[in-house]
Symmetry: C2
Subunit: 108 residues, 2 copies
């Protein structure tokens, strides 16, 4: 991470088409392998909503996040994920400061 | 992580007493050093709320999270943090499945 720019975070809730949560979880997990600048990308079930998924992300900076959307693996995941998604119920941008579990991923 | 039990996650928004966000961030970051079973604990500013902090956590299981609250460092942090907190505006339990940035912390 450059010391000049702040990290960039996202907290999002996705609601899937009924019954498609596990399928979407698999797609989300597959596509996170090689994302330059990605320091954390965790997917979770919402125990209170059978179709709810929470995604929490930390990136070196907003540019790294934006660039990831153009990666072939991510483009492929987006294409397969779209039909499974009913709505993005929450989408919160954050400015991560620190903590445990921030992968030391260099930019490429 | 035991394969029998699911991981346990929390997504929370804390609103501080006006002007106390940086002080609370420092306390939260200090207290995260040695927490058995903690796989991710990231604190972030809310860019849309000058007193807002988001905390996202992943634990091996609910027991690890509960046990952390009794650790001397965490007890001390809670005591110092309390006067700085106005409210817990959100508190969402999750069941993390996987992703990037899950520290491989063994239980002690």
């Amino acid at each position: 991470m450059s010391s000049e720019t702040a990290m960039f975070g996202l907290i999002g809730k996705i609601v899937t088409v009924p019954g498609q949560r596990e399928a979407l979880l698999r797609i989300l997990l597959e596509s996170t392998g090689e994302m330059p600048g990605c320091r954390s990308y965790i997917v979770a079930r919402d125990p209170a909503d059978p179709d709810g998924i929470w995604v929490t992300e930390v990136w070196d900076d907003p540019q790294s996040h934006r660039a990831s959307l153009a990666l072939p693996a991510v483009q492929s995941a987006i294409a397969r994920a779209k039909p499974l998604i009913q709505e993005f119920a929450q989408h919160i941008a954050t400015e991560p400061v620190g903590g445990v579990g921030l992968a030391a991923v260099g930019r490429s």
